[in-house]
Symmetry: C2
DNA sequence: CTGTTAGCGCTTTCAG
DNA sequence: CTGAAAGCGCTAACAG
C-alpha cells in the first residue's frame, strides 16, 4: 500500500510498458506491433493495438528519437514565406508528410546561403529523418552537411545536371523562360526586355533562357537586361516598367522574372496610362494568385509547385522507408498561360 | 587494447561525457555550465565551454527532451499560410524565438476547429515548451489540451474578455471595424455595405463593429450585410462587388472584411467601369502587400501583425523562463490608413 | 558549489 | 516469431 519510497521521476505519462502490461506481452512486442516492424503474430498485434487505444497511449517522440537515432521531423528549407510560390509548395509537402507521421520543420533562408547553412545546422541537431531543400545553389558547408547527414535529401524547384545525379523534383527554369520568350517572338515582339529582381539562381536561369532565345533570334542586346538585386515587390515592378519605358522607348515587351513584378507593372501601367499589350506586352512567371484577375489578365508561366511539393514529399518518404524511387530526377514541366497582357 | 566486446550502440556522436572528460569535470557540471543553470564556478564554466567548442559538441535535443520532459519546440497554430497576415506574424515570431534557442513548429488549421485540435494533439506529443494560438475560438477539446498541457500559451490577434484573463497580444477587431465605419460615415457615406468571406471569429467581430456604428448612426439594414462562407480571394471580392452593386444600386460604400477581397473589388471595378471612390467607396482591412499599389490605392486598416508576433514571442519567452510578464493582455492597436479608394 | 546515481521511454542487439 | 538486457544522451534528485 505504501508509495514506493524512491520513485524518482514519474512523469505520469502512459508508456509502452503500461500498454505491454495491459496486453500481457513484452514492451518490445508492443513496440514492434505498433510500428508494424518485422513479423508479429496478428493476434498479438491486435491485442497491443487494442490496449494502446484503450489506454490512450501516445509514443514519446523524444524517447523514440534517442533510442533509434532518428526523429519524425523533416526539415524543409525555403527562401521565403512571403512568396506564394513557396507557400503552395510547403502546403503540398505537409499534406503528404503529415499523414505519414512526419512533422515538418520549416527554415526560411531569406535567400541567404550563410543563413541557410546555419538553419540546416540547427535543424540537423534534431536528427531529421529527411531533408527538402530548394534548388542546388548552396554553400560548401551546406553541401557537406547534407552529404554527411544520414538523412535522405530531395532538392526541389530545379533539376540537377545530368552528370551530377541527385534526388530532385522540378522543371527547367531556363526552358520555361525560353518558351515564354518564344511565345513573345511568335507574337511579333522584337525588343523584349527581361526585368528581374532578387537575382537568385532560378532567376538567373530564367535570364539565361531568355538570352538563348534572343540570341537565336539575333535580337539580344545587353540594354534589354534590367537586373535589380532588391527583393521583388509590386512597387519595384512598377518602378522597373516606368524606368524601362522611359529609358528605352523602343521596348515592345517586358518579360518579368516573376508575377509579383509583372503585377506591379500592370498596376503601374494603368497609372501611367500605358496601354498593355498594345504599347508594350507584359508577361510574368509562376502564375501566382491574382494574375488572372489583373487588368489586363497576365500572361505567365504556370509552374507546378504544388505537384512538386507532393512529389518531392513522396520521393522523400520512399527514401526514408528505404524503398526505391521510380525516378531520381523528376521533371514536372511548366505551361505557358496566354492571357491578354502579352 | 582489445575493443570492449559488447559496446552495443555507439552513435559516434560527441556527448556530454566526452566534453566532461576533456574538461576534467563531471558531466553534470558541464551540463549546468553550458545551460547557465544554477551557480557554477566561473573557472569551470570557462573550461567546459572551451572543451565543448574544441570538440564541436552539440547537445542532443532528443536526450534533453527525454530527460527534462520538455523540448525546445514552440508550437504555433495559425489558420492559413496563404494569407500574408499570418506569414508576417510568423516571421516575427521566428525572429524572436530562434535566437533564444527555440524551434517553431507550424500548424496550419485551415480555419477548422477539429483540424486545429488534431494538430495540437500531434504537436503536444513533442512536449513543446510553449504554445502560440490564434484567437480564442477553439473546440472544447483544444481548450482542454491547452489547459492540461504544462506549456504556457499566448493567444494572438484578439484580446481576451477582461473577465476571462489569458495571455494575449492583439487589438480589438471590433473597434477597428467601428473606426473604419466611422471614417466612411464622416466622409459622408450613408449606405455602407459590409462584405465578408470566410466568416471566422475575427471577421464576425469586425461585422459587429460595423453593425454598432451603423446602428448608432441609424443607418443599419440587414440588406447591407453580404456574408459568404467561402474562402477569401481576389476573384470573390470582385464577384461580391458586382453582386452588391447589381442588387443594391443605392450602396455608396463597401467595407470588405479584408484586403484580398477589397483588392479584387478594385480590380473588378476597373473591368466594370465602376468609378471608385466616386460611384462607390471601397475599403479593406489589414493593409496587405499591394494595397498601396492598387488603382486607386486602397483605404484600409493597418494591423500590427509583425509587432504582435514579436510581442507574443517575447511574452512566451518570459513565461517559459518563469519570468513575470509586464502585461498579460497587450493591446497593440490599429491605424486607419486613408488612401484614395474611400 | 560539485558529484553520484538513477532513470526519462523507447529500441537495438543478441538469444531463444 | 518473441523476449531480456542494455543503453541512446541527458538531467532531476539527492547528497556531500
Amino acid at each position: 500500500m505504501a508509495t514506493p519510497p524512491a520513485r524518482r521521476r514519474a512523469s505520469g505519462r502512459i508508456t509502452l510498458a503500461d500498454v505491454a502490461r495491459a496486453a500481457g506481452v513484452s514492451p518490445i512486442t508492443v513496440s514492434r506491433a505498433l510500428r508494424g516492424e518485422r513479423a508479429v503474430d496478428p493476434e498479438l498485434v491486435a491485442r497491443a493495438q487494442d490496449a494502446a487505444r484503450r489506454l490512450g497511449y501516445l509514443p514519446d517522440p523524444a524517447a523514440r528519437a534517442l533510442a533509434s537515432q532518428r526523429s519524425t521531423h523533416v526539415a524543409v528549407l525555403i527562401p521565403m514565406l512571403s512568396n506564394a510560390l513557396f507557400v503552395d509548395l510547403l502546403g503540398a509537402v505537409q499534406r503528404t508528410l503529415r499523414p505519414a507521421g512526419y512533422q515538418t520543420l520549416i527554415g526560411v533562408t531569406n535567400y541567404d546561403r550563410q543563413e541557410e547553412e546555419q538553419l540546416l545546422r540547427e535543424q540537423l541537431m534534431h536528427r531529421p529523418a529527411g531533408l527538402i531543400v530548394t534548388g542546388f545553389d548552396h554553400s560548401a558547408g551546406t553541401r557537406e552537411l547534407i552529404e554527411r547527414s544520414s538523412a535522405p535529401c530531395v532538392h526541389v524547384m530545379e533539376l540537377c545536371e545530368p552528370d551530377r545525379p541527385a534526388d530532385c523534383v522540378g522543371f527547367s527554369q531556363g526552358e520555361a523562360a525560353s518558351a515564354m520568350t518564344r511565345h513573345l517572338l511568335d507574337a511579333g515582339r522584337r525588343r523584349i526586355a527581361f526585368a528581374a529582381a532578387q537575382l537568385d539562381t532560378r532567376t538567373l536561369q530564367r535570364l539565361d533562357g531568355w538570352r538563348k532565345q534572343m540570341n537565336a533570334a539575333g535580337l539580344h542586346s545587353p540594354t534589354l537586361e534590367w537586373l535589380n538585386p532588391a527583393p521583388s515587390s509590386l512597387a519595384l515592378g512598377g518602378a522597373m516598367l516606368e524606368q524601362i519605358l522611359g529609358q528605352r522607348p523602343a521596348v515592345d515587351a517586358v518579360f518579368f522574372c516573376n508575377d509579383d513584378l509583372a503585377q506591379g507593372a500592370l498596376l503601374a501601367a494603368q497609372r501611367l496610362r500605358v496601354q498593355v499589350p498594345q504599347r508594350v506586352a507584359v508577361v510574368g512567371f509562376n502564375d501566382l494568385t491574382g494574375s488572372d484577375q489583373m487588368q489586363p489578365p497576365l500572361t505567365t508561366v504556370r509552374t507546378p509547385r504544388a505537384e512538386i511539393g507532393a512529389a518531392a514529399a513522396a520521393m522523400l518518404l520512399a527514401r526514408m522507408r528505404g524503398e526505391p524511387v521510380a525516378q531520381q530526377r523528376l521533371d514536372l514541366g511548366f505551361e505557358i498561360v496566354v492571357r491578354s497582357s502579352g
